[in-house]
């Protein structure tokens, strides 16, 4: 029977406690750091050679959907009542409200070094030492809203701009696509101004600290953010009935993207699963 992923603002005290406990337990077991490494490994940018499955590619959505399912499976092995909540950043926009409370993810980092010092993932609590990282901090870092040069979270209107696009993705299937639901949601723009990072990308930037880098999975909010991104895929499908994942077929010989993107029925590394198999997950989970 399908389980439910809830809006983080609706969790009971017990649900928050059990989510946190399961996260800390998979961290203790060493399973969590595997997720961090996997995400680092699979960030292949589109200006370089190789298959892109996780970012700057059509499979951005199914890749993170499977990634979330794996994390959730690990959590549910610890506590079968746990699911990944989602953070609706179009509504919960304060740096001091959920999910940034002491009983869940803890708050922003302190001014001097952005170290998170509150909540269960604070270094001093002793259960969330960061071992896979780009910089040498052993502690979680955040700079919610970027105090030094403030930016705003994406708005409902920004998100609607992505959801309104009736086409899943377009050639050349990368970060330069100006249309298509996938890149409008993933958020790669052009130029260097603030308009160049939108929706998904902008949220990473807003959280700051470790969420800004290749090791962003170290911040538990990664999962709450990506659950909300994942929800947008379902919403988009509901809004555009019959619209499917694209490309349906692999780019052919002579196409610069040949062998570099995952088509609908192709295997999506590192898993033995295709985007098509992940288009409908209603038998596994649903969103409340």
């Amino acid at each position: 029977m399908a389980y439910t992923r809830k809006d983080v603002s609706t969790l009971t005290a017990a649900e928050k406690r059990r989510f946190v406990a399961a996260m800390l337990e998979i961290k203790r077991r060493g399973e969590y750091d595997e997720f961090v490494r996997t995400h680092i490994e699979f960030f292949v940018p589109d200006g370089e050679y190789g298959l892109r499955s996780a970012h700057m590619a059509p499979s951005f959505l199914p890749w993170h959907r499977q990634f979330l399912l794996d994390l959730e499976r690990a959590l549910r092995r610890v506590d079968s009542s746990v699911t990944v909540p989602y953070w609706d950043w179009t509504r919960d926009r304060s740096a001091s409200a959920l999910p940034w409370t002491k009983d869940l993810l803890g708050g922003t980092g302190r001014r001097s070094d952005h170290q998170v010092t509150t909540g269960p993932f604070a270094y001093a609590a002793g259960k969330w030492k960061i071992t896979e990282n780009i910089t040498d901090e052993p502690y979680l870092t955040r700079d919610l809203g970027r105090a030094g040069a403030p930016i705003a979270l994406p708005t409902r209107s920004d998100l609607d701009g992505a959801l309104a696009d009736p086409v899943y993705d377009v050639s050349p299937w990368d970060s330069t696509c100006r249309t298509g639901f996938r890149n409008r949601l993933e958020g790669w723009g052009t130029g260097s101004g603030s308009a160049s990072w939108r929706n998904h990308n902008r949220v990473h930037k807003w959280v700051g600290g470790v969420m800004l880098g290749g090791a962003s999975v170290n911040d538990p909010v990664f999962w709450l953010h990506h659950a909300f991104i994942d929800l947008q895929w379902s919403r988009w499908q509901n809004r555009h009935r019959g619209a499917r994942y694209l490309p349906a077929k692999p780019p052919g010989p002579g196409d610069d993207q040949e062998g570099r993107v995952v088509a609908r029925q192709q295997r999506m590394p590192p898993w033995d699963v295709t985007p098509e198999q992940l288009e409908d997950v209603s038998r596994i989970y649903r969103y409340a």
Binding site: E34, R37, T38, I40, E41, F43, V44, P45, D46, G47, E48, Y49, G50, L51, M56, Q66, D70, R73, A74, S112, D113, N133, I134, T135, D136, P172, S175, T176, G187, W188, T190, S192, S196, W197, H200, N201, R202, H204, K205, G208, L212, G213, G214, S216, P250, E258, G259, R260, V262, Q266, R267, P269, P270, W271, D272, V273, Q277, L278, V281, I284
Partner: protein, 147 residues
């Protein structure tokens, strides 16, 4: 749908022959992998030709930025260090650059991407020595050495 993260080892065959890259974990497993990883370290950002041209004069920088020594040289690929530690830069298809530190937006030049990475470093913190190697594994295997 039946694969857990433990199943990362499952289903590694390329989607198309020659298209998939070797992952860092694969590369680090076994003697061959260890040798490969070491061999790839000097190649920090092997890049594809880009759609937009690159300023031919923009091939090196060496400066102190916010108290950090940043150094970069374009030798087929950008080799960048911050306080002597490798910073992996990646290229977008539009010719802009992003770093492992600041991963969700890009900058017009390698220098700007490097300065942006420094902006994110807290006082007293450094890049991990492994970054260059870790980043290199992004392109890994057959696709990592086109520079």
């Amino acid at each position: 749908m039946s694969v857990s993260v433990g199943g990362v080892s499952v289903g590694r065959e390329p989607v198309r022959p020659g298209a998939v890259r070797r992952t860092r974990r694969e590369a680090l497993r076994g003697a061959f992998g260890a040798v490969l990883a070491v061999a790839l370290v000097p190649v920090v950002a092997a890049s594809r030709p880009t759609r937009s041209g690159e300023d031919p004069g923009d091939t090196a920088f060496d400066e102190t930025y916010r108290g950090r020594r940043i150094h970069g040289v374009l030798k087929g690929s950008w080799q960048v260090t911050v306080d002597g530690r490798p910073l992996h830069l990646m290229r977008r298809a539009d010719g802009t650059w992003l770093s492992m530190v600041d991963h969700y937006r890009s900058y017009p030049t390698a220098l700007e991407a490097t300065r942006a990475a420094v902006d994110e470093l807290s006082p007293g913190r450094e890049l991990r020595e492994a970054d260059g190697q870790m980043g290199q594994m992004h392109m890994g295997g057959d696709h990592g050495v086109h520079a």
